[in-house]
C-alpha cells in the first residue's frame, strides 16, 4: 500500500447531507463526533464544504426536490470519493418508499458504496460503515487510474 493510500485511509473528511430524513439518523451521525465515540481519533472531520470532502454521508430517502442538490454535491467532490447511505430511508426508501414524491434509496440518484441500514442507524454501525468505505478507497483509486489511462 502506498503512502497516499495510507493517508487516504487515515484522514477521511466527511460531508453530511440530509435528503429529507426525520432527523433521527442526523442525530446519530452527530453523536459520532461527541466525546463518547470521538471519530476524530481516526482523523475523521465533519466538513461543510463538498470541495474538501472525501466521504458523502447521506441520511433520508431521495425525493424529487433533493435529487438535484444531491447530484450537485456529489459532482463538486474531488475524486476519489465515497458515498455512505445511512439509515433505511437512504438505503431503500424505508417507510417512505411509496410516497408520491420519493424516488427511493439514494442509489437511484448517485452511486452508493456502503449501505448502513437501521432506523435510526446506531453510531457504532455508522462508524463501521465509514471504516468499510475507507477500506474500499485504495481499490477505487486504482479503478480511477485505470479509467484515466483508458481515456488518455
Amino acid at each position: 500500500m502506498s503512502s497516499f493510500d495510507t493517508s487516504n485511509i487515515k484522514s477521511p473528511w466527511i460531508l453530511h447531507y440530509d435528503t429529507g430524513s426525520c432527523n433521527g439518523c442526523d442525530i446519530e451521525v452527530l453523536a459520532c463526533l461527541t466525546p463518547l465515540y470521538d471519530v476524530e481519533r481516526f482523523g475523521i472531520l465533519n466538513v461543510g464544504n463538498p470541495r474538501h470532502a472525501d466521504i458523502l454521508v447521506i441520511t433520508g430517502a431521495a425525493n424529487k426536490r433533493s435529487a438535484r442538490v444531491l447530484r450537485n454535491l456529489y459532482e463538486q467532490m474531488p475524486d476519489p470519493k465515497m458515498v455512505v447511505a445511512v439509515g433505511i430511508c437512504a438505503v431503500s426508501g424505508g417507510v417512505l418508499h411509496n410516497c408520491y414524491n420519493v424516488l427511493g434509496g439514494v442509489d437511484k440518484v448517485i452511486p452508493v458504496d456502503v449501505y448502513v441500514p437501521g432506523c435510526a442507524a446506531r453510531p457504532e454501525a455508522i462508524i463501521d460503515g465509514i471504516v468499510l468505505a475507507l477500506q474500499k478507497i485504495p481499490e477505487k483509486r486504482k479503478l480511477l487510474k485505470s479509467r484515466e489511462a483508458k481515456t488518455a
Partner: protein, 292 residues
C-alpha cells in the same frame, strides 16, 4: 554569529525543510490538546501530515487559475519571510514580505465567484488590519532596544528582550489568535471541524491547492515560534518555551471562547492590543532617553 556563510546555508535549509516539519508537529499537538480540552482522545500527532498527503493525492477541482497562482505566491512569500527572519535579515522587510503573501491570498479569495470565498477574503483583510500594527510595534520595539532593524542584532544583546518588553507576550498571544485564525477570531476561515461561511476564503480550493494552504499554516506556526523566540534570544530554549507557552494560551483561548464578529476583533486588537504595546514602547523610549 548568524551571518557566517556556512551557517547561513544550514539555516536556510532548516527554514525551508525542517521548519514545516516542526510546524506540522505543533499543529498535531494543537489538535490533540484541543481534543483533550473537549474531553476527547483526539487524532494521532502526525494527523496534519496525513491530511496533507491525502489532499495531495486527490484530483483538484480548481476555481480559477488566478487563485492557484495566488496560493503559490502566498506559500513562497511565507517561506521567504521565514528565511529572512532566521538568517537574521531586516525585520521590516520580513513584515512586508509577510503582508504581501497575505494580500495575494486575499486576491485569490476575491478572484473566485463563490460568495463565501469573497466574504472570507474581506474578513481576511480585516484580520491583517488587526494584527499588522501589533507586529509593526513589535519590530519598532526591537529597533529601540538594538538600534537596528536587523534580526541578528537581537542576538548580540546581553539581556533578553523579554525583560524590557514583557507586555509584548500579550501582544504575541493576540497576534497568534488572529494570525492562526483561532476562536474567537476565526473569521476568514476556520480550523478543525469548525465551520464559518462554509470554509471562508479556502472554500473554492481543493486537492493539492488546499494542501499548499496547509503547508503555509505549518510555516506560519514555525514563523510565530521564531518571532516569540526573539524575546529570549540569549537562551533559545527558554525562547522556545516562551513560544510554546503563547501557543498553549492560544489553544486554551480557542477552546473557551465562541466566535465574535469582525468589529469585535478590530475593537479588541486596536483598543487593547495597541495601547498595551504602545505603553511598553513608551517605557522603552523613556529609558533610552534617560540613558543618553
Amino acid at each position: 554569529m548568524f551571518l557566517n556563510s556556512g551557517n547561513t546555508v544550514l539555516i536556510v535549509f532548516m527554514a525551508v525543510f525542517v521548519a514545516p516539519l516542526i510546524g506540522g508537529l505543533l499543529m498535531g499537538i494543537d489538535r490533540i490538546l484541543s481534543a483533550r480540552l473537549q474531553g476527547r482522545i483526539g487524532p494521532p500527532i502526525l494527523q496534519p501530515f496525513y491530511d496533507m498527503m491525502k489532499l495531495m493525492s486527490k484530483k483538484p477541482i480548481s476555481g480559477t487559475k488566478i487563485q492557484i497562482i495566488c496560493v503559490f505566491v502566498y506559500l513562497v512569500s511565507m517561506i521567504l519571510s521565514l528565511v529572512l527572519l532566521m538568517t537574521g535579515q531586516d525585520l521590516l522587510v520580513m513584515v512586508l514580505v509577510l503582508a504581501m503573501g497575505s494580500i495575494f491570498f486575499i486576491l485569490g479569495g476575491f478572484s473566485v465567484k463563490s460568495p463565501y470565498s469573497n466574504i472570507g477574503a474581506q474578513r481576511e483583510i480585516l484580520q491583517v488590519l488587526a494584527y499588522e500594527p501589533l507586529i509593526i510595534f513589535y519590530v519598532v520595539a526591537i529597533y529601540l532596544k538594538t538600534g537596528s532593524f536587523m534580526t541578528f542584532k537581537v542576538f548580540e544583546l546581553k539581556d533578553p528582550l523579554l525583560y524590557s518588553m514583557p507586555l509584548f507576550v500579550v501582544a504575541l498571544i493576540i497576534i497568534m489568535v488572529i494570525k492562526l485564525r483561532k476562536s474567537p477570531f476565526d473569521l476568514s476561515t476556520s480550523h478543525h471541524a469548525h465551520q464559518e461561511l462554509v470554509k471562508g476564503i479556502t472554500t473554492e480550493l481543493s486537492g493539492r491547492h488546499l494542501a499548499v494552504i496547509e503547508l503555509v499554516h505549518m510555516y506560519e506556526m514555525a514563523l510565530l515560534m521564531v518571532l516569540a523566540m526573539l524575546l529570549f534570544a540569549t537562551n533559545l530554549w527558554i525562547g522556545l518555551a516562551l513560544g510554546l507557552f503563547c501557543l498553549f494560551a492560544t489553544i486554551v483561548i480557542d477552546n473557551i471562547t465562541a466566535r465574535l464578529t469582525w468589529s469585535d476583533m478590530l475593537r479588541f486588537a486596536w483598543k487593547i492590543g495597541v495601547p498595551i504595546t504602545a505603553l511598553n514602547l513608551a517605557v522603552i523610549y523613556y529609558f533610552s532617553i534617560i540613558k543618553k
